[in-house]
Amino acid sequence: MIANAAPLLEVHSVRKAFPKPDGSQLLVLDDLNLELIEGQIVGLLGRSGSGKSTLLRLIAGLAKPTAGTITYLGNRIEAPAPGIAMVFQNFALFPWLTVLENVQLGLQALGLPEAEIRRRALAAIDLIGLDGYESAYPRELSGGMRQRVGFARACRSS
């Protein structure tokens, strides 16, 4: 079933600590290992404050681990990597951009030609079933619809 067994993502003995105001350290993740291979869907469970979001932020390159390494396709993640997208907890939609513009934003950052950006964005909006809402602003959508826009923006591959 799985054609290529080489891991897409490797998290290797990662440790993350935050400095506290009094100078000591607050340890959130310690010696964490994780491997993702193609086709896998993984859920992360844990209590509030156990470090789920922290791990996701590390993988997305939004924060740096205190120790350990994270590699994506064999390359170490130092900054946000082009192949890793994120759907944010509060969706992080730009209130002044329409649904279409929000989805296009990530594609524009890739420096694609205008026509290609439009085609891919419309395809993504179609995929999430928000056809006809292209020119709506986020505040005009319901919570669930906003989340789907967040999804559409995250899947910016062809």
Partner: protein
């Protein structure tokens, strides 16, 4: 996790019961004694006869500077107290009553547009006659003048905050049936607090900017030099003493630093808890003075009875639900109200026209309007230039928390810098290089007001939610794309707020910027500010009223025709929620 960082700060307030006299108490006692000594020092001589001021003219000896600085600071804080009182009553009334709003908000607009010299020239005689021959009368006039340079923007910010209290909070307050009094102090005031504190800081700086005009009062035959920094600067400029000007700058720097550390930093740190924001974004502001007060057991014990009384008031005044849905007004009463207001306005306009026409001809009117357009041209060009320079810098600073924290006190000092202190430099430069004063005096107008733009843009950039920033990083949105889609839209409403204040303030500043003197060298630019300044000196009340009326008209028309629509657009389109 940020939540845990926060928890670390908790024990300070949780452990309040377990207290003995500690070193924090000693610090606190010293601070309180210091304030008492300061008050005693600064309020001496209030009841002395006015002639005393003539025997003891303002001296340029640096030894007098501490006393002058203390007296000026006391005036500033007394005025700030009254500004707060005004804010809490006027803005609340405007926000709560539809009918009052109809009158109070436009009135505030006009008050904001009247330059400080306008208030002084009209009221100084009244205040002096309240306490004939006593210094107190002149002091009141000065405090009132300072009040007029502080109160309006505070009231406006409070009014705006009251109108934008999040519906969730209002609904929660309704569900728990809070009384009006409690709703005001528990929901509305806390919500408005961060904005209000920030505006108080800007007001203090604004008051410094006009400190010369408010202390060295000179209207026609009435000349008073109240001992203080403003008079010191005025005398230093008259006597062409560069040394004294430098002393004044140094003293101002020290005074601003002192009250920043002892008053505004603690206030900002304290007000931080009222920020209505779900996510822990920036690290909380810290202030060691606030920490001393918080940790001092003596302070806690002394303030406890007041706190208890305060809480009792919530119960005593709990009569009916304060957040009840708006009462219905009868249409007829509304119309009568509107008609009465209109009638009073027409009568007032008629009075002004009659008064002005008594002493002036239509040619004066054309002249003042032409001068108004000259000043308008300056304001437009200066705001444009300031925006081009400060918006990118403000965004850069605002997206870096450390830079923001270092920049705030610097900008606060620069905003307080009175234009008069630059007169020696500017006048000498214009005279020796033979420049055109119509152009080269203009930058002085924006000297104090450009900081409103800077401050607001920084606040806007700092308020970009961390999630949006992460999203930009995640999608690799950078460079011009980032500026275009993220930074500029996010700061736009803030920029407009700053630009409105800056442009209104620049009009007011024209009265000290279009006329510059250094000793007996005097430069004047063609503009409405110079017209008002000259009319005030001559005590020509007809010209003063005409000048103020024309300036107010310009400011109000520009606000209504340009800035307000732009602000509404910005709010509708670019507000983060």
């Amino acid at each position: 996790m940020p939540e845990c960082e926060r928890a670390q700060l908790l024990p300070i307030s949780v452990a309040q019961w377990a207290r003995r006299l500690s070193r924090w108490d000693v610090f606190a006692i010293i601070m309180v004694l210091g304030i008492l000594v300061f008050l005693a020092e600064a309020s001496r001589q209030l009841l002395e006869p006015l002639s005393e001021l003539r025997f003891k003219p303002v001296s340029l000896e640096p030894a007098h500077l501490p006393e002058y600085a203390a007296r000026t600071t006391l005036r500033l804080f007394v005025a700030l107290f009254f500004s707060l009182l005004f804010t809490f009553t006027y803005a609340t009334l405007a926000a709560k009553s539809k009918r009052a709003e109809l009158v109070l908000v436009p009135l505030l607009d006009i008050l904001q547009s009247v330059p400080i010299l306008g208030f002084i020239s009209v009221t100084v005689v009244f205040f002096m006659s309240l306490f004939p021959g006593r210094v107190l009368g002149a002091e009141l006039a000065a405090v009132f003048a300072i009040f007029t340079s502080q109160a309006w923007n505070m009231a406006f910010s409070f009014y705006q905050s009251l109108r934008t209290v999040p519906t969730e909070l209002v609904e929660a307050s309704r569900v728990f049936r809070l009384s009006a009094w409690m709703h005001f102090w528990r929901v509305e005031v806390p919500f408005a607090m961060p904005q209000l504190i920030w505006n108080m800081m800007m007001s203090m700086s604004g008051a410094w900017f006009f400190v010369v005009a408010s202390e060295a009062i000179s209207v026609g035959n009435t000349t008073v030099l109240l001992p203080g920094m403003g008079s010191y600067i005025a005398v230093a400029i008259e006597q062409r003493s560069l040394a004294a000007v430098s002393w004044a700058i140094g003293t101002m720097l020290v005074v601003i630093l002192i009250y920043d550390v002892t008053v505004f930093r603690p206030l900002v740190a304290w007000g931080d808890r009222f920020r209505f924001e779900q996510q822990a974004g920036l690290a909380p502001q810290r202030s060691f003075v606030l920490e001393i007060l918080n940790r001092s057991g003596l302070m806690a014990n002394l303030s406890r009875p007041f706190g208890a009384l305060w809480h009792r008031s919530h119960w005593l005044l709990q009569t009916r639900s304060g957040v009840a849905s708006a009462r219905k007004h009868s249409r007829i009463t509304d119309q009568v109200w509107a008609a009465t207001t209109l009638l009073i306005a027409i009568l007032a306009v008629w009075q002004i026209v009659r008064f002005v026409l008594q002493g002036l001809s239509p040619i004066d009117l054309y002249n003042t309007i032409a001068r108004g357009f000259a000043t308008l041209a300056r304001v437009v060009v200066l705001i444009a230039i300031a925006s081009l320079i400060w918006v990118p810098i403000g965004v850069w600073v605002g997206t870096r928390p450390r830079a923001t924290r270092m920049f705030q006190p610097v900008a606060q000092f620069l905003a307080a810098f009175p234009a008069n202190l630059l007169f020696p430099l500017v006048v000498s430069a214009i005279v020796t290089l033979q420049l055109n004063p119509d152009i080269w005096l203009s930058p002085l107008m924006i000297l104090g007001t450009q900081w409103y733009i800077v401050f607001n843009v920084i606040a806007g950039a700092a308020a970009i939610p961390s999630e949006l920033r992460d999203c930009c990083a995640n999608l690799q949105v950078r460079g011009w794309l980032w500026w275009r889609t993220t930074a500029l839209p996010a700061v736009f409403p803030y920029y407009v707020t700053g630009a409105i204040t800056a442009s209104g303030g620049s009009w007011n500043a024209s009265i000290v910027a279009e006329v510059a003197s250094w000793g007996n060298q005097r430069l004047e630019a063609f503009g409405i500010g110079a017209y008002i300044a000259r009319a005030t000196e001559a005590g020509d009340f007809h010209a003063i009223v005409l000048g103020i009326a024309v300036m107010s008209l310009f400011v109000v028309v520009i606000n209504r025709a340009f800035w307000r629509p732009l602000y509404r657009y910005a709010e509708r389109r670019f507000r983060l929620e």
